[in-house]
């Protein structure tokens, strides 16, 4: 019978991504509720020493799959190895991050194992001993609770920035186990031929703890400089509405909303964004929303925790100066 919770770690260049700690921490909570063991699974090359760190976040056992073919993520290699490990160990629940990697990996793994998968979940509960996942649909215009019938493992991905990370407990340790698997290199069809690093130094919107975002009210590309200055002071990423992206002021990778990125920061500052339903859908799970807009009727104020009805070109630079007092303390 299927037993145990697995959290799949995510590494890039040998470093764990933040989402790794989120899924291990959430896995710990589910394992406690079920009275089961939490296993963290690390795929990579030369990750064994680093892997033991995950014990501090709640892993009881850590399986390390070490192979040069696993150094950089490809669905071919990762799905093949994980499917072998799952068949050998039969976990009940597998949690991955709903990062670009996890969202690519989870559905293919589920299809290979012929089991259900729920993508980009914001909450997990155990009801009558079974996993119930909550996930926004229609980009957050509704929430669905889903169950997995009798198909195990239940495969889920967790939205970044939603699940709290446990305080690391240096007193905790875990058994670190070498995974038993084989890789048929002839089956590795896709190859990562290049990784072009983003040199902006800014954190990705989906991972950002704070976002300063601009819309049509920014009027042109140059004006985004005042948002970047605020973002630099508070350590935020800079986002944009569809209007700003379609006007060519910002790259499409900055777009937040139903046809852009879905974000969930602790702080979202919307500047000159009216709050079209598609935009609200993409940032509605932000913890604190600030709206700065000169139109008091803008729908964004209905969603904002703090609203400032004024000219953003006056408010934003003044806010940048004011927050320095707190950030520099």
């Amino acid at each position: 019978m299927a037993q145990g919770v697995w959290a799949i770690a995510e590494q890039r260049d040998g470093e764990f991504r933040k989402i790794t700690y989120e899924v291990v921490s959430e896995g710990r909570r589910l394992a406690d509720t079920l009275g089961q063991q939490l296993t963290a699974v690390v795929l990579g090359s030369g990750m064994k020493d680093k892997a033991s760190e995950l014990a501090q976040y709640g892993a009881d056992k850590i399986i390390v799959a070490d192979d040069p073919n696993l150094a950089t993520y490809t669905a071919d290699a990762y799905v093949s190895v994980l499917a072998q490990l799952v068949e050998a160990e039969t976990p009940e629940i597998i949690i991955l991050g709903a990062s670009t990697q996890g969202k690519d990996l989870a559905p293919r793994l589920a299809a290979r194992l012929n089991v259900a998968m729920a993508q980009d979940c914001t909450a997990f509960d155990i009801e009558d001993g079974k996993l119930v996942a909550t996930r926004p649909i229609f980009t957050g215009k509704a929430y669905a609770k889903v169950t997995f019938e009798d198909s195990t493992p239940n495969i889920v991905t967790a939205r970044p920035n939603v699940m709290p990370i446990n305080q690391p407990d240096s007193g905790r340790s875990a058994e670190v186990v070498d995974a038993q698997f084989s890789i048929d290199e002839a089956q590795l069809k896709t190859k990562v031929v290049e990784v072009i690093k983003d040199e902006s130094g800014r954190i990705d919107l989906t991972e950002a703890d704070k976002i300063v975002s601009g819309g049509r009210g920014m009027k042109n590309a140059e004006n985004f400089k005042i948002l970047e200055e605020l973002a630099d002071v508070i350590g935020a990423a800079v986002g944009a509405s569809r209007a700003a992206v379609d006007a060519g002021w910002r790259p499409q990778t900055d777009q937040v909303g139903q046809t852009g990125k879905i974000v969930s920061p602790n702080l979202y500052i919307a500047c000159g964004i009216s709050g079209a339903i598609q935009h609200l859908a993409g940032m509605g799970t932000s913890k604190i929303i600030v709206a700065i807009n000169k139109d008091p009727e803008a729908p964004i104020f209905q969603k904002a925790d703090y609203g400032v009805v004024d000219d953003l070109f006056k408010i934003v630079p003044a806010l940048t100066e004011e927050v320095k007092k707190y950030v520099e303390k």
């Binding site: 670009t100 690519d104 215009k141 509704a142 609770k145 889903v146 600030v290 709206a291 104020f301 925790d305």
Partner: protein, 258 residues
């Protein structure tokens, strides 16, 4: 080159979603149904690929009869033929079931590449496309914003943005490529295109024809509206400087985010 684009029909992005009395589905009355916006990038890339290398574009969709409208739109954009998998009356189907239906049709076709949207903006699951690749036994690359074709057209390099970087992934064909904004600018259906589309072939198959049983492993047990956000505070002040100071203070002292 034989090019396939998969088409999903979804509620327009303007749609206000209302929950049906059963608590498990949405009210479909009054919804304007459109081609999934991400699939438009897939259709456009299929058409561009045909323009570059010749061949034909087949669009495939699964759903009730209204889905033929989405397929006609794709034909009007320039696709050559459509295959409609009619599941009228079969109710909700999970992603695995839909992917199996698509795979059942595609496996017997001669094809070089399959384009899809990176996700449907209805269930946001991003699964059908990848599961389709798995069932066909071919590779997939998600989130394409740029394609570089090999001279022999036997492989393609796909640029896919990930957190903080862009991965360039080379995939041998056939493969499933999932598309997003930035890859291209989807064309509009022209009036002559719409007229021509009416005469283009559309094959219809049923799930039964394909031997597909609806076996929903993922069950929706409850839909709810998004959590209400409590009414916020409008920051008062005589001058922009005063408002900014008060906002900064509240973000620091009350919200504790700065």
């Amino acid at each position: 080159m034989n090019i396939i684009a998969c088409v999903k029909q979804v509620p327009d992005t303007e749609t206000q979603i209302r929950i049906a009395p059963d608590g498990k589905s949405i009210v479909t009355e009054g919804i304007k149904w459109v081609v999934n916006p991400y699939d438009e990038f897939g259709i456009e890339e299929a058409l561009k690929t045909k323009e570059k290398f010749g061949g034909q574009v087949t669009v495939i969709g699964v759903g009730p009869k209204r889905v033929t409208e989405a397929l006609r739109t794709a034909l009007a954009m320039g696709a050559d033929k459509a295959i409609f998998i009619n599941d009228e009356g079969e109710g909700e189907k999970d992603s695995l079931t839909v992917a199996r239906a698509l795979a059942a049709v595609i496996k017997d076709m001669d094809y070089d590449i399959i384009f899809t949207g990176q996700r449907g903006i209805d269930d946001d699951m991003a699964m059908i496309n990848v599961a389709l690749a798995e069932f066909l036994g071919i590779p997939h690359v998600t989130l394409a914003i740029k394609l570089e074709w090999a001279d022999d057209q036997k492989s393609v390099k796909v640029h896919r943005p990930v957190e903080g970087a862009t991965m360039v992934v080379e995939a041998p064909l056939p493969a499933v490529i999932t598309c997003q904004k930035g890859l291209n600018e989807p064309r509009y259906a022209s009036l002559p295109g719409i007229m021509k589309a009416k005469k283009k072939p559309m094959d219809t198959k049923t799930l039964a024809d394909l031997g597909i049983e609806v076996t929903n492993k993922l069950q929706v047990i409850q839909l709810s509206p998004p959590p209400e956000r409590k009414a916020g505070k409008i920051i008062e002040g005589e001058t922009p400087e005063q408002k900014a100071a008060e906002l900064a203070r509240l973000l620091h002292e009350e919200a504790k985010v700065i």
